[in-house]
Symmetry: C2
DNA sequence: GCGCTTTAGCGGAACGTTTAGCTAATCGTT
DNA sequence: AACGATTAGCTAAACGTTCCGCTAAAGCGC
């Protein structure tokens, strides 16, 4: 592979002049510029990003760590972030942790070794797990998306999970539902906690009692949610509505309903958090709370890039975006008993 | 950030010894090893991958270029490939081309600049577009997935698209359908061509005539497929079954059906290519041909890694995997007229 | 005690850039 | 004509590793 030295020799100039030509970093006379570009084409020269990174001290690489790219929320997030990063002249090193904290730690180490210029992280670990990263995060611009972590004072971009759960639960109550169950997310994640809190608060505000066995806690995964829904729906006094804390779990609930040959929304209403591209393709079209994924992605990228140069030392910013309720066909009005 | 020099100074050894310790590339006495590892911990030293890459001539980076990560087939593919690459000690540079050939070309240039050790590419361009890459591909291990390109003699991993379309069409015919339509993929992609050919051949073999206006060509995108399905279903002599050439398009068809207040499978049967996680969550559960995504991913990674060192000069391998028909509820038997 | 081999550990030259100096040539001013 | 000011383009020193080849000490047989 041709190097600057080869180009310089062929063009009869010094490598400094080649560098100046390639980077437009200094004036080069038209004549030399012509000879250099000619030589570049002749040799098929392309600058070596590795050497350049070593010298410049930055790699134009950004690490993107997500919990599970198979989750449509993250798929979309990766999609928009990749595009934005690319636009800004960086590239994305993708890391999928499979909701596994060990992996996440390994990835952070690897990203550090690759000397990425920044990291966008959708953390999967618990609060407390991250104490060890505090020193790391001082040097490495870090933006947390989707889930916040108190102990890292990094920039964060989240949605108002409390509001999301509150709104969707209120919708259920408005329709007359009183026997409302939830399949909640993991308690160690702020997103899981907030959604459960929003659910509880909505019920309290309306004075609707909550049977404790109507709160099932899950793992944001489909299988467990399906099992929980099966149990819920076959148990005594089954709920008239179920609130699933994310889209995977919502799918699990729908499968349980289908397996029991029940009808949604006639027999049971279902709501969930996270819209996804197929939510309105089937019957019933699903009522959900949509997170503003595109905004989250561009906000995260903007915050990250903002840490370059001067902005490096500003205090961390915590951006909280508003979700929106999307009413479709998976909830029915309850006729008063 | 601490460097080897700092570690060496603190441990009272040369940087060569630090290197030998870190890489286990030469014998280091227990005493020195202890002092070195101690210094490493004390300073929080982590090797600089950039400098290492420059010296070693390889980056442990693999470029992964997909047409559209939002397509569940590619989502899954990215998921399995990322895991396999990671396992092998490499990292993934993700590139999403949005089915845009210009972008794809840019990405290839960027990946080249980053000196990736190899590229896995799901190409979106037409045959002929890639002539310019022939020189590139000589030096850069390249594996094509999903879609083959005649002019690049790179390794390829594809599924038997002809068989997939043939099988699923035959299934429709077995159920008694005679008015069968297809919404085909782009003709410039081998996957699009082969699927259409399989569809046609199945009809021919059974002597079922095909009305030419029952062949709509699309772009592998949902909106256009929906428009085509709307037109197909509202036109005179509507088909009793529709074959969609990928999952996006299948969704488009389902939305059209839902919008027209028709019932699937009672009014119209639907089949598609590509299974996806939600295909069996709703009513009707969708009958599809499943591509062996996991096998495709691991095959691609294996082929790529195989090009390292000695295998560099072996002739290209073309691996063709078999799809499997997954029968669910979106197809009904047609009662004889 | 002398040569011989063995080997732990070190010095230093790369790898391909960027960039801070520097040189020498050109130019304007007096 | 002599002087400084300006500037196009060059030289060379980094950046942080890896690894070849060397030194010098140790081990060994005689």
């Amino acid at each position: 592979m041709a190097t600057m030295k080869d180009v310089a020799r062929l063009a009869g100039v010094s490598i400094a002049t080649v560098s100046a030509t390639v980077n437009r970093s200094a004036f080069v006379s038209p004549e030399l510029r012509r000879r250099v570009t000619e030589a570049i084409h002749e040799l098929g020269y392309a600058p070596d990003g590795v050497a350049r990174s070593l010298k410049r001290g930055r790699t134009q690489l950004v690490g993107l760590i997500v919990a599970d790219i198979t989750n449509p929320f993250f798929t979309e997030l990766v999609h928009v972030i990749e595009a934005a990063i690319q636009d800004a002249g960086y590239s994305v090193l993708l890391c999928d942790t499979d909701e596994n904290f060990e992996k996440e730690r390994d990835y952070l180490r690897i990203l550090r070794t690759h000397r990425v210029d920044g990291v966008i992280l959708a953390p999967t670990g618990q609060s407390g797990d991250y104490a060890q990263f505090q020193s790391l995060e001082e040097r490495l611009p870090l933006v947390l998306v989707d889930r916040a972590l108190a102990e890292l004072n990094a920039d964060t971009v989240t949605v108002d999970n409390f509001a999301a759960a509150f709104e969707v639960t209120a919708h259920l109550l408005d329709l007359g539902h009183r026997d409302v169950a939830t399949i909640a997310g993991p308690e160690h994640l702020t997103s899981g906690q907030e959604r459960l809190r929003g659910f509880r608060t909505a019920l309290e505000q309306q004075g609707v009692p909550l049977r404790e066995n109507f709160v099932r806690s899950g793992s944001f995964r489909e299988e467990e949610a399906m099992a929980a829904a099966l149990d819920l729906l076959q148990g005594p006094g089954r709920p008239s509505a179920i609130f699933a804390a994310n889209s995977h779990m919502m799918i699990g609930v729908m499968r349980a309903i289908s397996q029991l040959r029940l009808n949604c929304p006639k027999d049971v209403s279902v709501v969930g958090i996270d819209d996804f591209p197929w939510a309105n393709a089937f019957t019933p079209r699903l009522t959900v709370v949509r997170q503003p994924v595109a905004e989250m992605g561009s906000a995260a990228v903007k915050l990250l890039l903002d840490r370059r140069g001067d902005g490096a030392e500003r205090p961390p910013v915590h951006q909280v975006l508003k979700p929106t309720l999307v009413i479709r066909d998976s909830c029915a009005r309850v006729r008063p008993a």
